[in-house]
């Protein structure tokens, strides 16, 4: 079920009403959340519900066993059970074909032609997200940062909670689980914030991202035939398409959760307003980048084991972060670019020249944006070959008129993109936090702002595509 569908509107309206009617009974309310979350997921494919249920069972058990175990070995073993089970499922469903194909390609280069090893596997939607979410639970218990829950319904609800099930934000158990186990109180401020954030998210997704997607898909669909200007323009628009698509999704998820009395962590904070890639990763898909930092980078030793190990850890974290996005070399290279630049930034900061350039900090914005833009080529291209063609085409420096196609849709896209950027600039300059936007608004103000957004959506929405992050 997509957030931007009529079914979701009906689904959520019913759940919202039932949910607050059951406000005096926490366990019934949680059962409702669990059942509705499973319906939400089964709408896409009911067969894969079994995977979520299996993961939930294993981690519920592993969590409680880790906590109960009094020896380090036992604790480690149960953690391993959780890691192997979750990462095993993820590997089979997401990476098996990738590794099988890569192995076959490599062997072919050595003159051996093995049989086709790939299998007909469907990637279950959201598997990367809920796997990371459930892993954070067992790892936190192992690290003694969290006590396991005894309530299986609460735990299953935590894993499957529908606002964040299929594309995040990746909520840690430390944040979400206590909220599930505590009586929720209806807060007007959260309700106001939620309504505004859902509408802003819808606008970002179905108006801005989907409008930009038309041009981007045309160019990247047949990249070999377009000139440098068209490819640069498409990559530039893609940078905003993916941002508004995913930030929009996160807004709707966070807003929906707020209407149910839950507070998620912020997932995007105007990432293109960053002076360095390090800052970019503090603002882009924050729930993933903080997860990678806390559970991978730090587990690898972080920056505690000398400068060389720090660079290695950074690189590994970003390469694996790239692979998390998709089973394709393009994502690994994308991660590699980010890892390299992050390492360079770290190195540069440790040199005596760093402070001399303090006055030129503003140059960090365009430099960071250009690096991010370049890396998006790999992220968007359908294959490594397409990415190579795109780069070759760009360095041909054929800056003649770009391909325009349907002029109306391009003008529409540019207009709505301008609206999005102006809104972002406004909240950046005013230091407004979108998460709290609207908290103190009166009903009339909420209604007026909502109606303006709804009419803008009516007039400018584009054909709805799946959210980009669903494929991860």
């Amino acid at each position: 079920m997509l957030f931007n569908s009529f079914e979701f509107l009906v689904f959520f309206t019913i759940i919202f009403m039932l949910y607050w009617l059951l406000n005096n009974n926490l366990s019934k309310q949680n059962i409702l959340l669990l059942i509705s979350s499973y319906i939400f997921y089964a709408w896409w494919d009911w067969r894969f519900l079994s995977l979520i249920i299996l993961s939930s069972f294993i981690d519920f058990k592993a969590g409680s066993e880790i906590f109960k175990s009094n020896t380090v070995k036992k604790r480690k073993n149960w953690l391993l059970v959780s890691l192997i089970a979750n990462l095993g499922l993820l590997s089979i469903f997401k990476y098996y074909n990738f590794f099988a194909e890569s192995f076959t390609d490599l062997m072919t280069k050595f003159g051996w032609h093995p049989n086709d090893l790939t299998l007909n596997i469907i990637l279950p939607v959201g598997i990367s997200f809920y796997t990371f979410q459930t892993l954070s639970y067992t790892i936190d218990i192992y690290r003694k940062q969290l006590q396991p829950t005894k309530n299986i319904i609460s735990f299953f609800t935590y894993i499957a909670f529908f606002p964040q099930l299929v594309a995040g934000p990746i909520e840690r158990a430390t944040n979400l689980l206590p909220q599930i186990e505590k009586k929720r109180i209806f807060k007007k401020e959260w309700f106001n914030e939620g309504v505004i954030q859902i509408l802003v998210g819808l606008f970002r997704k179905i108006v801005i991202a989907d409008s930009l997607g038309i041009y981007v898909d045309t160019i990247y669909g047949d990249i070999g035939i377009y000139n440098s200007t068209s490819i640069i323009l498409a990559t530039f628009l893609y940078a905003f398409q993916i941002y508004y698509d995913f930030a929009g999704y996160s807004d709707i998820a966070i807003g929906t959760a707020k209407l149910l009395g839950f507070k998620f962590n912020q997932n995007f904070n105007l990432p293109y307003f960053s002076k360095s890639l390090t800052e970019f990763w503090r603002k882009w898909h924050m729930s993933l980048s903080f997860w990678l930092r806390d559970y991978l980078y730090i587990s690898l030793g972080g920056n505690r084991k000398g400068i060389k190990i720090t660079y290695r850890n950074l690189m590994l974290t970003m390469l694996l972060g790239g692979l998390w996005h998709g089973a394709n070399w393009t994502f690994i290279i994308w991660g590699g670019i980010h890892g390299t630049v992050l390492s360079l930034e770290k190195y540069f900061k440790s040199t005596p020249y760093a402070h001399k350039l303090n006055g030129f900090g503003f140059l960090g914005y365009p430099i960071t944006f250009t690096i991010v833009l370049f890396s998006w080529i790999f992220f968007r291209a359908q294959s490594l070959n397409s990415a190579t063609i795109a780069i070759k085409k760009i360095i041909q420096f054929d800056f003649s008129m770009p391909f325009i196609g349907d002029i109306n849709s391009v003008i529409n896209a540019i207009l709505v993109l301008s609206m999005g950027i102006l809104f972002d600039l406004y909240i950046f300059n005013k230091k407004i936090d979108l998460e709290n936007f609207g908290a103190k608004f009166s009903i009339t103000k909420i209604a007026i702002i909502s109606s303006v957004i709804i009419i803008l959506i009516n007039l400018f929405y584009s054909t709805s595509n799946n959210f980009i992050y669903f494929q991860f």
Binding site: F6, W20, L21, N23, F186, K188, F191, N192, V195, G224, I225, Y226, N227, S400, M401, F403, D406, N408, S409, I411, N412, L415, I443, T444, I446, A447, I448, S450, S451, V452, I454, I455, N458, L459, F460, Y461, S462
Partner: protein, 319 residues
């Protein structure tokens, strides 16, 4: 939840609903007023232009961009219009044909293609381009509803009718591109160097076409063919279907199958896919499906010849 909060939620939603509906209607009526005066541009102007002249013309071309760019109606009749538009398949032109006057004798040339005729996935989605008239024209509303291409929400939020067309409307309202009184719907393509280069690139990268194996006619397509036949028979219209030329069409079984279907249905049909075969020049084309102005002129001449020889007879001349 206490009553106070419940009241707050209900009050907020009712307020949002009321204000939104009010603003929606204001926006809808303002856009109606503006768009009714727009007769240029693809988003709505051309449709308004067609609705204005549809009762008077005696020859009309319908179809996709392959009709729009490939046929100059003036070469056939001085009292004509080309209503071909990008992305239109059969649902859109069929609906417009149903709006034609009952008594007036008119000749309709409708471009069709095998891809859509045999597509399993064609749902009549092109009819959505008539959305701007959904809340204003019963025939259009019925056709959109019949195909299930309506947006339920559009029954409440009328401004949805103008989705994606506002900028085009405003632009053409304040600064029309051309004088619509001298426009007959035909948009010739003057191919520039860049387009020529792109086309050459496409041809050099060309991989062999995979021919469609399953050739069952799409249900919606089929039903529109029958409906159009009936409508034209009952309303003094002559309808001729044709397929537009392709640069190099290697699949023939679909063309044969379509010809067979049209013959069974006793519809007049010209398969002109290979019109340029044997006499093909790069200069006739913008891409594999669209002709340049030069190609379009040659093609229109041949259509005119066919119409004169086979349909109209020597005694009939266009005005």
């Amino acid at each position: 939840m206490d009553t106070k909060n419940l009241k707050y939620i209900i009050k907020t939603f009712v307020f949002i609903l009321l204000i939104t509906l009010l603003v929606d209607k204001i926006v809808f009526f303002v856009l109606n007023t503006i768009s009714d005066q727009v007769f240029t541009g693809q988003s709505i102007g051309k449709l308004n232009h067609f609705l204005k002249i549809k009762d008077d013309v005696d020859f009309i071309v319908f179809g996709s961009s392959r009709a729009n760019h490939n046929i100059d109606p003036l070469m056939i009749s001085q009292n004509s219009f080309n209503m071909g538009m990008d992305g239109r398949k059969i649902a859109y032109p069929a609906t417009l044909i149903k709006l034609l006057p009952k008594e007036k004798k008119q000749i309709i040339l409708l471009q069709i293609d095998t891809e859509n005729a045999f597509s399993e996935n064609y749902t009549g989605v092109d009819i959505q381009a008539l959305n701007s008239k959904y809340n204003r024209n019963k025939i259009i509303k019925n056709e959109i509803d019949k195909l299930g291409q309506n947006n339920i929400i559009q029954n409440f939020y009328w401004s949805l009718s103008y989705n994606s067309s506002v900028l085009g409307i405003l632009k053409n309202y304040f600064k029309p591109n051309y004088n619509y009184k001298t426009y007959f719907g035909y948009d010739p393509i003057y191919v520039n160097e860049n387009q020529r280069k792109i086309f050459k690139n496409i041809l050099s990268d060309e991989i062999s076409e995979k021919c469609q194996q399953r050739l069952a006619i799409n249900k919606i397509y089929n039903s529109y063919l029958d409906e159009l036949k009936l409508f034209c028979e009952e309303n003094n219209k002559t309808i001729i279907f044709f397929t537009s030329p392709k640069f190099n069409d290697t699949c023939k079984n679909d063309n044969d199958k379509l010809s067979e279907i049209m013959k069974t249905k006793k519809l007049i049909y010209y398969d002109l896919t290979d019109y340029f075969k044997g006499n093909n020049l790069l200069g006739y084309w913008k891409d594999k499906d669209h002709l340049s102005k030069e190609g379009a002129e040659l093609f229109t001449q041949s259509i005119k010849k066919k119409l004169t020889n086979h349909i109209l007879g020597k005694e009939y001349t266009f005005h």
